[in-house]
Symmetry: C3
Subunit: 343 residues, 3 copies
Amino acid sequence: MSATAPRWRAGDLAERFALELRGDPDQSVAGVATLALADAGQLSFLSNPQYRAQMQGSRAGVIVLRADDAPLRNGTALIARDPYVAYAQIAALFEAQPAAAAGIHPSAVVDASATIAPGASIGPLCVVEAGTVIEQGAVIGPGCVIGPDCTVGADSRLVARVTLVTRVRLGKRVLVHPGAVIGSDGFGLAFERDHWIKVPQLGGVRIGDDCEIGANCTIDRGALEDTVLEEDVRLDNQIQIAHNVFIGAHTAMAGCSAVAGSARIGRYCLIGGAAGILGHLSIADRVTVTAMSLVTHSLTAAGEYSSGTPIQENRQWRRNAARFRHLDELARRLKALEKDSAP
Amino acid sequence: MSATAPRWRAGDLAERFALELRGDPDQSVAGVATLALADAGQLSFLSNPQYRAQMQGSRAGVIVLRADDAPLRNGTALIARDPYVAYAQIAALFEAQPAAAAGIHPSAVVDASATIAPGASIGPLCVVEAGTVIEQGAVIGPGCVIGPDCTVGADSRLVARVTLVTRVRLGKRVLVHPGAVIGSDGFGLAFERDHWIKVPQLGGVRIGDDCEIGANCTIDRGALEDTVLEEDVRLDNQIQIAHNVFIGAHTAMAGCSAVAGSARIGRYCLIGGAAGILGHLSIADRVTVTAMSLVTHSLTAAGEYSSGTPIQENRQWRRNAARFRHLDELARRLKALEKDSAP
Amino acid sequence: MSATAPRWRAGDLAERFALELRGDPDQSVAGVATLALADAGQLSFLSNPQYRAQMQGSRAGVIVLRADDAPLRNGTALIARDPYVAYAQIAALFEAQPAAAAGIHPSAVVDASATIAPGASIGPLCVVEAGTVIEQGAVIGPGCVIGPDCTVGADSRLVARVTLVTRVRLGKRVLVHPGAVIGSDGFGLAFERDHWIKVPQLGGVRIGDDCEIGANCTIDRGALEDTVLEEDVRLDNQIQIAHNVFIGAHTAMAGCSAVAGSARIGRYCLIGGAAGILGHLSIADRVTVTAMSLVTHSLTAAGEYSSGTPIQENRQWRRNAARFRHLDELARRLKALEKDSAP
């Protein structure tokens, strides 16, 4: 952190985030750190109860915690209903966002028919193609390619080397990480006798306000209608979203998960890492899918769903896996025994 | 769609694609849409019988359908053996391909020893390195890096931000989507006592005519001989192809699937999303592997193959998964019971 | 291979790599090839015993092999304890590394506050941002974006189109393949009543000497402390490493594997392709995880671990998978039968 990092009084943090202060309102905070590493000039937080002992030994100048845990704290504390949320808000004060000068970098190649809002920033070595609109406050980081007929909403940020292919509409405050590709051709093929022919992908992609798209994600545009992410959808890295998928607001997906064409995912869902969702099915609101599970049919009720088998020492696993190959026969043999032993 | 979008008479479409017309040959078609959303100036199609009711209520000016379904249609229809194929061909007429001016964009960096055909297009901020050949009609979109000793065949298109590392040969009409990396080092390592040493990757990659490579795919070059995709291989997004893999013509792979080194996949295979294929094995022609299955041994006969367990509500799944850990013991106990109860 | 490829005498190779020579020390070697394809001017190797017959028919001028296999060889041979290691070392002599001119390409955009060592190479269309250091002998290939406050260690090589986002420290001789994104935001979210808020990701990434990062990998920076790869960690393509992961030295991970946040992986581990490791758990040194397995709890002992079920013809698999849904009930029924049949 540079010498010009901001400093906050504990009392001012309490006021700004409507938290109750216990201890010294003049305690100065110059940054945030883990309970284990924080020094007297830093703020930390206790969210997970298993770190209580660590909290009691922490040298942090201020600790954000629940009222229940406050008696365990000797020094200055900020009391929060949800310490992790309060910590996130406070930490944002100490995040040095890279400066992005408004205007178009001289090395960028911008089509004459593109509309760049005066306060937007187009970074070095970007390409912006015909008919595209970059709204006020949007930041297009270095090396991005924004194809034709796209819109990047106000205050959105494409970190670096993002590609929007065509007919992509990003809402406001959308954050897209490097390497993401949005609006590429959906995987539409028709089989004609002995070879494939390509089905034109004439739709686009619509991404709602406050969405976040992770590094190296791919989101294909629709075949006829659009691929849609409602607002506040959060995608981790390397996620694949096929054409005409619909993802409801506030759904979060962990890294390497994938959704096949025309699947519809509800709101407030949590999709685990490397989980897969087959095409043309529907997932209700507030469904959780655990990591590496494969959803093969629609899930019509909220709840948690899983597939797969547990990790085991390989030799044991081999024996069990070999039995799985004959599980149906095994069940039939059990049934036969039951019949035999019936009175 | 812009005001200059093309318009077609239904009769002309019938003639061009050798389809039987029923209804008004002068019906004008200005675009394509789904059955549900098409208006009187648009063409739609009925391929999946479950949309028959939707077809009957559709306002589409023209509908492509099978002869069997024609009696259900009131308005103008085009009769096709395979309506999806006919639709794909017609829709291509309405696809506005981004214009790519022939020649080298002034911002591109092209090595003096590269050969760029006069009709090829090198987009803004591309790099083309020594000894590389870009053939007639090829389009290198913005931000691509084409390393040394590569060939991009006639009429191929690298949409944007594609990387060909070295010794990559693309056939004709190959389409590569953004973020794809072709010709990177294969993952060749030799373990020397206490550390890894790198095995040089001296081969290349050969990709046949009419292949399509999805966004953010990776295809490594061979260790000594080449990694090979025959013609008309279709890769969805985020697919990983390791060194020295061979993929037969007309095979299609869905998103996030992966093939380990030196595996050989036949022709006309269908590999499901996130499926994995281990190294040094062989898959026959016309094999289908379902999503997220792991192929651990060679598959010598055409057919459909699967692994994994079904998705379930998590509490039930946990109980079943716990039993899987002891499946072998369970089978032994069943065997013992059978012996006991034998007459 | 160009006409200027190097030539080596077999005797000089023996001396250089401390191998025993059998046969003609003047045998000339102009390149390397497989046993099947090598000609009299090329060197090949026999490591896997199943290729013995192929070795005996090989036209290779020199073959590297184990002492045990030497009697089977008619022509010139080099005897190695580990022929694959010796082959890798010899092959490196024949690898034409693309030349990288020292200095900054005129098309690159380098911040005035960045430090570029005189012998480093910054390729065309690169961006290097504020405060970043590129050390002696490092090669930044075309189209890379190196964000602020990064260090690229001496003799490291970023092949092309690599992104280092911020606070990334690469050691010496690190090799990063195209499309890799290192230092992107970790996926840190806090749920506030009805929407997500972002948790600032204030840490960085530290990557040790001699690491290799595959194409289109993503490695997020830490939330507070750093994400760490110790020395000689080898990542294949499309691997996802979440924030605050720690990977011990000499661990190798195959393509498409993924590690969730704050997991700790030991030294000398082998992680199979598309395997997943959940967050906040710990894996001992020398653990092997087989392909597409999911590690859901800490693994405290060295060994090989697996999950999943075997690939089967789909019809059989369906029957077995259906039984898995009721495996717990099946086990209970077996238990009941055992009670009944107890004497």
